[in-house]
């Protein structure tokens, strides 16, 4: 009897699923472009990772080219540059991930406390604006502001009696400050949106109850706002771990000068130099694959830790 009921159950379940799909067919239809997008631009290109193990031949294509095993990975780790590249990449990406994390949260909390709607809208717009500027423009601005002698900052220093000839962009000791400062300036407004959305979803009754209990503004933020948006913070943090070895190509590429190259040469710029500018497709794919693999492993670990500690996780 049992054996005969199984297919029936499955059939029932299948027909229920089919009916559900049919009922929500417009929603599924709307989902189709998104699924197609990911298949075309994310999943099909993954096949290209085969190149990391092959010596690419123009006439044979990806599948027909001969295998070279792990040669490219060995070459990379034997290269005198690899340690420096990995170190630089990790430092820059960790700064962008850990050090930068509180900035948009604090900004979202500040926005949330602004009561004047007009002022809030204006200040939000101003802070979102840099997100829409390309790094080429932002770095161009930085170069002009920090130029030796006639740059804005050096002129201020000189007017205050200091030496106004510092070439900030050429001195590696200012690189992290310039890199991190420009990153915060460009990204903080846009990245605060998601936290602001999470804050606006908090039940106002909780704030009222806290007020009745005598809580001040800071106590409200500390005991209600932050715990309420913690799942959002954790999820976003886990997702960002996937990019731990991607320090942001365009910004670093443009900020790099001979003076700061010992800090600014990263895996992304190396991939462009070797892959695109020297035509070593396989080698560049292997280095790019390393970035992705390390990111994936970190996301899985962080997700597991987060699920155990805070009951918040991606899956």
């Amino acid at each position: 009897m049992k054996q005969s009921t199984m297919p029936l159950k499955l059939n029932n379940r299948g027909s229920v699923l089919w009916k559900s799909i049919l009922r929500h067919r417009y929603l599924y239809f709307m989902l189709l472009p998104c699924i197609l997008f990911f298949i075309i631009f994310s999943y099909i290109p993954m096949g290209g990772l085969l190149l990391a193990f092959k010596e690419y031949k123009f006439n044979k294509g990806i599948t027909g080219s001969p295998w070279v095993g792990l040669d490219y990975f060995k070459t990379f780790f034997n290269s005198y540059q690899s340690a420096q590249l990995i170190k630089n990449t990790l430092i820059i990406s960790c700064m962008k991930m850990f050090l930068y994390l509180p900035f948009p949260i604090i900004l979202a909390l500040m926005f949330n406390e602004i009561r004047n709607k007009w002022f809030r809208n204006i200040s939000q717009s101003i802070l979102y604006l840099p997100h829409f500027l390309s790094w080429v423009i932002v770095v161009g601005l930085i170069q002009r502001i920090l130029a030796p002698d006639d740059g804005l900052l050096n002129q201020v220093i000189s007017n205050m009696g200091g030496d106004g000839s510092t070439f900030f962009m050429m001195d590696s000791k200012y690189f992290y400050t310039i890199m991190f400062g420009s990153h915060v300036w460009k990204s903080i407004g846009w990245d605060s949106i998601i936290y602001l959305a999470a804050i606006s979803g908090i039940n106002p009754d909780m704030y009222e109850a806290a007020k009745i209990d005598g809580a001040g503004k800071l106590r409200e933020i500390w005991s209600i706002t932050i715990p309420s948006i913690m799942p959002t913070i954790v999820i976003l943090f886990i997702l960002s771990l996937g990019n731990i070895l991607s320090a942001g190509f365009d910004q670093i590429y443009l900020l790099r000068t001979p003076g700061n190259m010992n800090l600014a040469d990263i895996l992304d710029t190396y991939i462009i130099r070797t892959g695109l500018q020297s035509g070593q497709y396989g080698y560049a794919t292997a280095v790019g694959m390393l970035q992705g693999l390390i990111g994936l492993i970190l996301v899985v670990i962080a997700n597991r830790i987060s699920r155990r500690v805070s009951e918040t996780s991606l899956w």
């Binding site: 075309i40 005198y80 190259m261 035509g279």
Partner: protein
């Protein structure tokens, strides 16, 4: 029900838009594989009845150009396009692949594999970064052998004659020994006559009024020590630019920040893009292995610390460098040339030239040199049509069309059959260069024809003038001639050393650790600039030592041994 239909319609529309957005319009453009086979004789030996002798085939030829869009433009003037069609039957079309660096586009384009009838790319010499990429493509059967196609041509057949090509083009680029007489790319811009060069004068220039005020003849500045003294005098002179601001004694090159070898010639070990030279005992070494590297660092540090040199000399962007040159903000422009429009009144005069490390100022001229190249993918049908078309463009008739436009509209012919540019075209170019460009030929800035046609060049013989409209321009742009006369260019040219040789880095492509060494050589160039800005001489020395160590671990010693051997072979002799 109505709402349902609206929903359905909207979703269908979205899907159609998405699909149509993702569909290429290749079928409309019609690459060679889609075009109809020519109805006329595609072998092209005899022109069909009623067609001119220049007739090739009734077909489309589409090219993909991996070169900056400033040099070339996709838009062809309809009348010129019709004239090309009338003469050859060819419907010519080029597409420019835009990329930050032209080589990025070339690498991506070759990897994609979907190539049209021909491709064109930068290729100064066999040491150019594009060379290993196209060489790999040729070795892997991506291109058509051009040798048999060249045999029946009028101009390109000269490439098969002994002594026509410079040795780098002959053995390094086109007829490489590994190809056994075949060639897969045509190297372009090969002059008809050896040692051909224009009277262009390049290098550092000084503001004429400053030189006069200081009572200095710029031609007598032939060492970096004299250059330093001159810079100090300029600073002490408190000269002003056109905005009333203080003049910077030594400004960057007109085209933006870069290391300028011609400014520090007596401290440069080899050309500034090579940094490899041979000493008096015949030993080939890299600059980092000589005392010149630190001497140059100390000299530049001195200029920077005494504010005699623009602080962003090596990294400044082009717009600011050019603005400074035009405003007269630089007492000395580190590098420019005499043909530049802003100096046709010769308010900047050439300095030196500065002596090289051997104490010589002798002019060096290439026997012939190439620039850019093209290839026919092996997927192209009837490749002989492309070769014939290239040959037509390289002929005098073809060159007249793409360099001077249409007879009657853009020029007339004088009694000797040489073109005379019409005054109204010249006026239009001066008044509205963009509008003039639409006339669609090289003289007004639309260079579609030189991709396949600029070779076997001798403009004086073919057109009676070196550059388009020189005859008409007489008296208006003679700044370059004045400068040439000022430096006694003719005498210098007469005594010049004519060289037919390879650059020292030309063999990186065949060196087993070439890529790693190239990265280390580039790192040295950056390290040198870093050393200029270091706080102390010790720090600078440390930076250079570290760069040398990296070059050595990337195989510098073995590479120097390789090129020493190459230099012994007359077919692969080097120039330093």
């Amino acid at each position: 029900m109505n709402r349902k239909w609206i929903k359905l319609f909207t979703i269908s529309l979205l899907v159609v838009l998405l699909i149509s957005g993702c569909t290429s319009n290749n079928s409309k453009n019609g690459s060679s594989t889609n075009t109809k086979e020519p109805a006329t004789d595609s072998k092209g030996n005899v022109a069909p009845e009623g067609k001119p002798a220049t007739w090739i085939a009734d077909r489309k030829i589409k090219g993909l150009v991996f070169m900056g869009s400033d040099d070339y433009t996709e838009d062809m003037n309809p009348e010129i396009k019709a004239k090309v069609k009338e003469l050859t039957g060819i419907d010519f079309e080029i597409q420019i692949m835009k990329a930050d660096h032209s080589i990025d586009g070339l690498v991506a384009g070759l990897a994609a594999g979907d190539l049209p009838d021909f491709i064109a790319f930068y290729l100064n010499n066999s040491g150019r970064p594009e060379m290993p990429v196209i060489l790999k493509a040729a070795r892997e059967g991506m291109f058509t052998d051009l040798t048999p196609l060249m045999k029946d041509t009028k101009v390109y057949s000269k490439y098969l004659e002994k002594g026509f090509l410079p040795i780098d083009t002959q053995y390094g680029v086109m007829f490489r020994p590994e190809f056994n007489g075949s060639t897969y790319f045509a190297h372009m811009n090969i002059n008809r006559e050896a040692g051909y060069s224009t009277n262009i004068v390049g290098g550092p220039f000084i503001r004429k009024d400053i030189a006069e005020a200081l009572n200095i003849d710029p031609r007598t500045i032939t060492t970096t020590d004299q250059l330093y003294d001159l810079a100090k005098k300029i600073k002490a002179g408190n000269f002003k630019d056109s905005n009333g601001k203080d003049v910077m004694p030594i400004g960057p090159a007109y085209w933006g920040g870069a290391e300028v070898g011609r400014l520090f010639q007596d401290l440069e070990w080899g050309a500034d893009d090579q940094r490899i030279n041979q000493d008096k005992d015949g030993k080939i070494t890299h600059e980092a292995e000589t005392p010149y590297a630190m001497k140059k660092v100390e000299f530049v540090k001195k200029l920077l610390s005494e504010k005699l040199m623009q602080p962003e000399f090596f990294t400044i962007d082009e717009s600011r460098a050019t603005e400074g040159a035009i405003n007269g903000s630089w007492g000395i422009i580190a590098n420019m040339h005499s043909m530049q429009d802003f100096n046709q009144d010769v308010h900047y005069l050439p300095i030196g030239p500065i002596k090289d490390v051997n104490g010589s100022t002798q002019m060096k001229v290439d026997f012939k040199s190439g620039y850019s190249g093209w290839a026919i993918p092996s997927t192209t049908k009837n490749p002989e049509d492309i070769m014939k078309f290239a040959d037509f463009l390289a002929s005098k008739q073809g060159k007249l069309l793409w360099k001077y436009g249409i007879e009657g509209r853009d020029y007339t012919l004088d009694a000797d059959g040489k073109p005379l540019v019409k005054q109204e075209v010249l006026d239009l170019k001066a008044k509205d260069p963009n509008e003039a460009k639409k006339l669609g030929f090289d003289g007004v800035g639309n260079s579609w024809g030189n991709i396949l046609g600029s070779t076997d060049n001798d403009n004086i013989v073919d057109f009676g003038e070196e550059n388009w409209a020189d005859k008409l321009n007489q008296g208006k742009s003679k700044g370059a001639d004045i400068v040439a006369e000022y430096v006694n260019w003719k005498e210098q040219r007469k005594n010049a050393e004519v060289r037919d040789a390879y650059t020292p880095t030309s063999f990186l492509g065949e060196f087993d650790r070439g890529t790693e060494l190239k990265a280390a050589l580039d790192n040295y160039n950056d390290s040198l600039i870093k050393a200029y800005y270091s706080k102390s001489t010790e720090e600078a020395q440390k930076t250079l030592d570290s760069a040398l160590k990296q070059m050595k671990s990337a195989g510098l010693d073995d590479y120097l041994k390789l090129i020493t051997e190459k230099n012994k072979d007359p077919k692969t002799v080097l120039k330093f």
